[in-house]
Symmetry: C2
Subunit: 407 residues, 2 copies
């Protein structure tokens, strides 16, 4: 039995049937906080995401980023001996995580009811795009499918033009984080009552919960507010949005009392006293005019950094719109570990990845986690968890029940 | 001492100094899972968000949506007697959550070091825009400020045009969820070791972790990939994005094997065999052409729903881009409780809000939570937690230390 690493979740055991992004993020969040995660990969290829994104030595950096800290058990799941090993493992873990299409894990013989027979207090976390229930549950789902149904896509872009999708995996990643939260809440309940449960976490529900005002505004305004995309500026405060600077863009959030600070920065104290501009509602009514005043002023600077530096002197909430490339070398992001550099032995080099988004005073250093090769921990898991001899492991390997790859 | 409601976190006690959105979401997530949350509101007005969004009877629906399930203790924090009450309360809770600008809570006399003196195993969760450390930590921060620094804003919109911000509170809400996850992880550690800790959760770090490929691609491609916004379609799979239909928009994700299904739906089996279109890389090279084929075909339908229904027959991953208004009555979102209707007694009516984004088999019904009026639980908290008599409470109220409002 291997000891967990020293972090908040040391001792927690997770069996991870996930693939792609949302499910793997759930398990990775738990691994980065010290849980022991066994990733069950279907042979012969393993997680489909091993074929995604940038490669060297057949090593996918997508896979590395999202599967650090997990142990890989690669099985030919069509062989009954493989499924028997899975059942044995379930009896030894606290949590099972999966993100198949709803119904698939039951058809594999691993429904929540069956899992409970194997381990009465098991916690099963099922992650999906549109949820485990409801008329759309069986649809094939990806991040942007859920985003479109949530109304979030409709809030991005210009009115009367096609909406945009953000080219980041925010729905998948955030849903994985919700899955980890669900697991820890259910564990607390299990520890106090002895009861496990089945958790249902879907991207659609997660996206929908991002609407901080849009949902309640519709009925409450009796139809006067029909939330939709209206460009680059907030609808209920002003100024708050994206402004064109010299050779780049700036986000300025100078509503409320920040307006007076921006007026000082612009050397336009008159604007903060002028009733046409002195309140957020007044400025919202003159939105295009306010944007023009600010953008014309921004053009008097040679570039975005000098404009930002000037506004910072007046405590204006302001930020340059950084490219991803610029974030990699930004002193703040490096100092905080928002971006960090790790080494992967199969890729045989260093790569940049987002740091763990929670900072713990008891664990100031992130754990030195590696992503596994396909089936890298087959022998270890069969030996330490299931008590198999080296000879038995060799036989299962020879029979193609256990699969290993050098990447 | 009041019993917590029956859910996963029953018995957990949280003292909540948060305001606006990110911090209140952290505390609300805990409350919706059964924690007892005492929201300390600064008198005379309480949380600034009581003045935000849509109103009736001076009741802010923004406040209601994000503060259900909390008890309000409204204090004149400038009175030393109020701070003495806060210190007494800290000794009786498990967790303190705050989202002031970094350093402010320490200047109030409630640094983590001081909290530890009051309650040695206290968990302090500090939520901020840019984090508690690093050269930018002291800047005033809002959601889109962090988003701009994270590079996420740069990934939304058309190349060579100004980027867009999604008009939803996704950074704030998601960071609140990360805060709740951090708290539960730290509680598990505390329960096993007796040690509390200080948690640092910032929007910038949360946003950055959404980059599923962009961060690692820069160095790994040796500069060949410079991630940026490129419109309405994914950059590494095709088709995956927003398409114009008849009087509306559709998200279609028919990459991988789904391409053949879309070709069948379009009655164009030739396209799935044609080498110019048969793989994702090939289609990415002919992106505009592929988009045109699909959009021309979509125009043969009378509207978006009929096009979606047709594609669904072929199991194509597809979704209509719903407006927020359309989501409110959608059978799937209603059936799952993605959107739910609640009643607020001060608002004196029903309102629609996003349902809790995690579904628990042990707790199929959401808790019947209400948002508090300003200082609604002053007497209850002073009596049950601090053992004050009704006379003492009345005196503190008469002296303006305790504040109450009817909304």
């Amino acid at each position: 039995m291997t000891a967990g690493l020293n972090h908040c979740l040391t001792g927690l055991r997770v069996l991870d049937f996930t693939r792609a992004l949302a499910g793997p993020t759930c398990a990775r969040m738990l691994a980065e906080m010290g849980a022991e995660v066994i990733k069950v990969e279907p042979g012969p290829k393993g997680d489909m995401s091993r074929n995604a994104s940038t490669f060297r030595n057949r090593r996918s950096l997508f896979f590395v980023q999202h599967n650090r800290g997990k142990k890989s058990l690669c099985l030919n799941l069509r062989d009954p001996r493989a499924m028997a090993l899975v059942v044995e493992l379930i009896s030894q873990v606290d949590v099972v995580v999966e993100n198949f299409r709803p119904g698939v894990i039951a058809s594999m013989g691993l429904s929540y009811e069956r899992l409970k027979e194997i381990k009465p207090d098991i916690i099963l976390c099922s992650i999906s795009a549109l949820g485990q229930s409801g008329p759309l549950a069986q649809k094939p789902g990806y991040d942007y499918i859920a985003q479109a149904y949530s109304g979030v896509t409709s809030m991005i872009g210009d009115k009367d033009e096609a909406p945009y999708i953000p080219l980041v995996g925010l729905g998948d990643v955030s849903t994985g984080v919700h899955g980890a939260l669900a697991v820890l809440a259910a564990l607390r309940h299990r520890d106090q009552t002895g009861k496990g449960q089945h958790l249902d976490v879907g991207l659609l529900d997660v996206y929908y919960n991002f609407h901080e005002v849009n949902v309640h505004q519709v009925r409450a305004s009796e139809g006067a507010i029909r939330p939709t995309r209206v460009g680059r500026h907030m609808t209920y405060l002003m100024p708050g949005g994206v402004f064109k600077g010299t050779n780049g863009y700036v986000v300025i959030m100078s509503f409320f009392h920040h307006w007076a600070d921006l007026c000082k920065a612009m050397e336009r104290p008159d604007l903060s006293e002028d009733a046409r501009y002195s309140t957020d509602p007044a400025r919202l009514e003159r939105r295009d005019e306010v944007v023009k005043i600010i953008e014309d002023w921004l053009q008097t600077f040679p570039d975005v950094p000098s404009a930002v530096a000037h506004m910072e002197k007046f405590d204006v909430p302001v930020a340059p719109v950084l490219s991803v490339e610029e974030t990699l070398s930004h002193p703040h992001l490096r100092a905080r570990g928002t971006v960090r550099t790790i080494h992967d032995p199969v890729y045989d080099g260093e790569l940049d990845v987002p740091g763990f988004p929670i900072k713990f005073s008891e664990f100031p250093e992130e754990l030195p986690l590696q992503a596994p090769r396909v089936g890298q921990h087959n022998a270890e898991i069969l030996s330490t968890y299931l008590g198999r001899t080296p000879e038995e492991v060799e036989q299962l390997k020879a029979d193609g029940v256990l699969i290993e790859k050098p990447y």
